[in-house]
């Protein structure tokens, strides 16, 4: 059932999927405080898929990041997306994202690192918002975030919050501001050894609280609301190569008006540190 028109849904979807700015040993859907080592490079490829009733999106994104200092990283994300709204399909380049993360606090002890970071990301407006379904919202969006991480040899926990300020496009449409909050626990079943494969199991609780979108200054009733997801995932690494994967399963939903609830979201990321 399609109650919300595609440009609106497209805007929301882009903000949901491409606001990760994930680096290294961070959660799959949330964010963590990890940054790259100074002068380090990260190359990553990510596949993702989401489904909400008849609406489906499948995508592939490439990410490159650079360690400016041991506490500050920056990079770009280039996503390619294919969308289907049950009747029409469109595909092409989605909005590019530039991001940066700064770790402003770090407390190290034997086998344990606690740290906190802030992040900033900008979503460009390059994607075709006139495609049907739309591939972008035709506006530049700003994403800010803060995250804390407790990472030990045995277990992990993270907490993060992001706030998304969507821009207003040429048609005077503006997607609703959005909070994303994440609480993540991680468990390593076997003690890690350097140069040996390492596995960490993750369980995330991801919340999304979205304001109503506006068109010509008027709130749109079938937009915005709250969704919560429980997301099991895995982080597997060997030396400088990592695979992260997880699936978001909706556990609570309170969407305004008539909207399609999420069925699931899947993400898998392959990362190399160079």
């Amino acid at each position: 059932m399609q109650r919300v028109n595609w440009p609106l849904w497209g805007a929301g979807a882009l903000l949901i999927i491409h606001s990760s700015a994930a680096l290294a040993h961070d959660p799959v859907f949330g964010i963590g405080p990890h940054v790259l080592f100074k002068n380090g490079m990260e190359a990553a490829a990510e596949i993702y898929r989401k489904k909400a009733d008849k609406k489906e999106e499948t995508g592939l994104a490439f990410q490159v990041a650079y360690g400016i200092t041991g506490e500050w990283s920056a990079g770009i994300d280039v996503p390619y997306s294919s969308r289907n709204n049950g009747t029409d399909t469109s595909s092409g380049l989605s909005d590019l994202q530039a991001f940066t993360k700064y770790r402003f606090w770090r407390e190290d002890s034997l086998g344990l690192q606690e740290s906190a970071a802030v992040m900033l990301a900008i979503n460009a407006d390059n994607a075709d918002e006139k495609a049907d379904p739309a591939l972008g919202n035709g506006a530049t969006d700003v994403i800010t975030g803060i995250t804390y991480g407790y990472e030990s040899i045995k277990s992990y926990r993270w907490a993060s919050a992001r706030y998304i300020f969507p821009g207003k496009n040429a048609a005077d449409f503006q997607a609703g501001n959005k909070w994303r909050v994440d609480f993540v626990a991680g468990w390593r079943p076997a003690p890690p050894e350097y140069k040996k494969p390492d596995t960490v199991w993750l369980l995330e609780l991801n919340g999304e609280i979205t304001d109503k979108a506006e068109l010509n200054g008027n709130s749109l009733m079938n937009t915005g609301g709250t969704e919560w997801f429980l997301s099991p995932g895995i982080f597997w690494t060997t030396r400088n190569f990592a695979i992260k994967s997880g699936i978001q399963v909706p556990v609570a939903s309170d969407l305004n008006g008539t909207q399609d609830k999420s069925d699931y979201r899947f993400k898998a990321t392959f990362e190399w540190h160079l």
Binding site: L36, K38, R106, D108, S109, L110, P191, T237, N240, H273
Partner: protein, 102 residues
């Protein structure tokens, strides 16, 4: 003739062993106690930083003990401050270091 050949081979072997011993003896092993090491993937930055440094022969990391072992080639030495800087640039904290001749 045969005795001369054996003598030559023995002399060659002795010189080779001496040469090899000299070349190994000149390096230094630094044992660093490093805090914050919680995952092997993250620790890769330490190896990368050291192996890009001229004169470093090998890097090994023991996550359980928080130990980073760096062996250098002949003539290469590190000041403690430089070691701290490299470890910090990799995102960790060096607590102490000991060194011994190889």
């Amino acid at each position: 003739m045969k005795l001369s050949l054996i003598k030559t081979l023995l002399l060659f072997t002795a010189i080779t062993l001496l040469w090899s011993n000299f070349s190994f003896a000149a390096g230094i092993q630094y044992n660093m106690r490093v805090d914050g090491l919680a995952c092997p993937f993250c620790a890769y930055g330490i190896e990368k930083k050291f192996t890009k440094t001229e004169g470093v022969d090998s890097v090994d990391i023991d996550l359980q003990k928080g130990l980073v072992i760096v062996k250098t080639r002949e003539g290469k030495t590190f000041r403690e401050e430089k070691l701290k800087e490299i470890i910090n640039d990799a995102g960790f904290t060096m607590k102490s270091v000991t060194e011994k001749d190889l």
